[in-house]
């Protein structure tokens, strides 16, 4: 039992340093590498800068000032587009949430113990998330022509990548012991997942789906750039009129902001109801 006799005498002469030299060296090297890269990037990105940085804040403030006060009367023109944006987000989020379930299960290490399948799903999802939303939108517009459908499809694919990853991570953190108990009482795979896993992840699932819903509402602004419809497109064309339309643009932004806040509020209430 007494291991003390066999214990190697430690070489450290007291008092020791807080970190071993090797750790210190590694962290220092990484730190300086990051700082060096940062300085280089800053220098590089500023090479074409002509103006004096001291004017910057004043310039910004004067432009920002042109957005205020927001022209709230403009809201009456955009209810339809806002509604359309929300509707697109509802559909996209719903479909993404449904497709996510099998994908998330397949890419959760603790559920999919068959490694090749796990890695295949992971890789697929990683690739999916790599594609920028702008590219997705552009490709779908290329495939389906202009309209709501490509917008919705881009949102689905885009949110699928995020949602499946987040949910599979949630699944990986669940308490596996109830699942074991279900298995020990003779449950089949689906029964075990349904009775042991689902109740544990449901609140998280709901709040993540709502989070993605919020992202989808915001993303419609990007979709506007490629003409995939919704409030983003209105914002885009308003900004083209220059200053006189800036207050309109601001009104749009405020409206989006309010919608997102409302979603956040509902989401927190729903979570309370579920937990």
């Amino acid at each position: 039992m007494s291991k003390s006799n066999t214990k190697k005498p430690l070489k450290i002469k007291q008092p020791p340093d807080i970190y071993p030299t090797k750790t210190k060296a590694q962290v220092t090297i990484i730190f300086f590498a990051i700082v060096a890269m940062y300085l280089y990037s800053m220098n590089w990105t500023q090479r074409d800068m002509v103006g004096d940085i001291t004017d910057a804040p004043a310039n910004m403030v004067s432009v920002l000032g042109k957005f205020f006060p927001p022209n709230y009367s403009y809201w009456s023109n955009i209810w339809d587009e806002m509604a359309l944006t929300i509707q697109m987000a509802v559909i996209a989020t719903t479909i993404a949430a449904i497709i996510t379930v099998p994908l998330a299960l397949l890419s959760a290490r603790n559920i999919t113990t068959f490694k090749p399948l796990y890695y295949a799903t992971r890789t697929f999802l990683n690739l999916l998330r790599t594609i920028p939303d702008l590219v997705l939108a552009v490709i779908f517009v290329g495939l389906f022509g202009i309209g709501l459908l490509p917008g919705i499809l881009a949102l689905i694919v885009f949110s699928l990548g995020i949602l499946a990853k987040l949910i599979s991570e949630t699944i990986e953190t669940v308490d596996m012991s109830p699942l074991e108990a279900m298995r020990a009482s003779g449950g089949g795979t689906i029964q075990v997942i349904w009775t042991g896993l689902v109740p544990q992840v449901l609140p998280q699932f709901t709040s993540l789906v709502l989070y993605v819903f919020e992202i989808n509402v915001r993303a419609s602004v990007v979709l506007g750039y490629v003409g995939a419809g919704g409030i983003g497109q209105v914002l885009q064309s308003q900004l083209r009129y220059g200053h006189i339309a800036f207050p309109n643009a601001m009104a749009i932004i405020v409206l989006i902001f309010i919608v997102v806040l409302v979603i956040e509020y509902i989401s927190s209430k729903l979570r309370e109801a579920l937990i």
């Binding site: 108990a181 029964q191 449901l202």
Partner: protein, 257 residues
């Protein structure tokens, strides 16, 4: 009847969980397994319902070698062996009734269980089981609203609902305080006697083992080092099981579990 015939188990990482275990447990017995942490108690118990699979030897439950079982048979085996865990393993967010009904999973079709369509008989069975462990008034509480002892009683009710032939309990009282522990052990013993269910329990505490067991099995480093009626247990038995006297002032260099 459960028979271990020269059973060994090596975990994928090379740890020897069980080493040439030969044990026969007869129907209706109340067996307590004791041993240090890491001795292989859980491994032994979990072999019986194949939550882990021994790598050598044969393990007979009701005269069939369960080591050959595949999914279908496995579900049957698990349906007749109920299990109780140290941390109760309840679904914290589900209510008590739902947790207890989970004991019927092995008897219920997948679709029916997904839509919570348990038969009336199942539901009354679940309620009866809750009554037997005296916790029926919590039937609609969420599991995480209950104290530790109450949760363990719910998990006993879950096993009762399963109507098993064997009950395996892996340190059912390790997370409970002494009075509650005794209460839970008493329920287990009562069920063992009333329903004649063979019960195998892992325990850390020797005094409790002595009090409730018909028979004690001592394990150390994957091997069975003691096997006999509780009455035969002596101070020396402990030394064998724990590898030293338990009250030794092992002040320096005591190994960690």
């Amino acid at each position: 009847m459960i028979e271990f015939k020269d059973v060994s188990l090596v975990y994928p990482n090379g740890t020897q969980g069980l080493k040439n275990v030969n044990v026969t447990i007869n129907d209706g017995e109340f067996v307590v397994i004791v041993g240090l942490s890491g001795a292989g108690k859980s491994t032994l118990i979990r072999s019986i319902n194949r939550l882990v699979t021994p790598t050598n030897g044969s393990l007979l439950v009701d005269d069939e070698d369960i080591l050959k079982y595949r999914s279908k048979n496995l579900r049957k085996l698990r349906t007749k062996t109920g299990m109780i865990f140290q941390n109760y393993n309840l679904v914290k967010r589900s209510n008590v009734l739902k947790n207890v009904l989970a004991g019927r999973l092995g008897h219920t079709g997948t679709l029916r269980s997904i839509f919570n369509m348990y038969s009336k008989k199942d539901k009354s069975l679940a309620y009866e089981s809750l009554k037997r462990v005296n916790i029926e008034e919590k039937v609609y509480n969420r599991a995480d609203e209950l104290s530790g002892g109450q949760q363990q009683r719910v998990s006993i009710a879950r096993v009762l609902t399963q109507q098993p032939k064997y009950i395996l309990a892996d340190e059912p009282v390790a997370s409970l305080d002494p009075p509650t522990s005794h209460q839970v052990m008493t329920y287990l013993k009562k069920i063992n006697k009333e329903d004649n269910i063979t019960t195998i329990v892992n325990l850390h505490f020797i005094d409790m083992a002595m009090e409730y067991a018909d028979r004690i099995i001592g394990m150390r480093a994957g091997e069975v080092v003691f096997d006999g009626p509780a009455s035969e247990v002596t101070e020396k038995t402990f030394e064998e099981i724990y590898g030293r006297s338990i009250r030794e002032d092992d002040l320096r260099g005591g190994t960690e579990s």
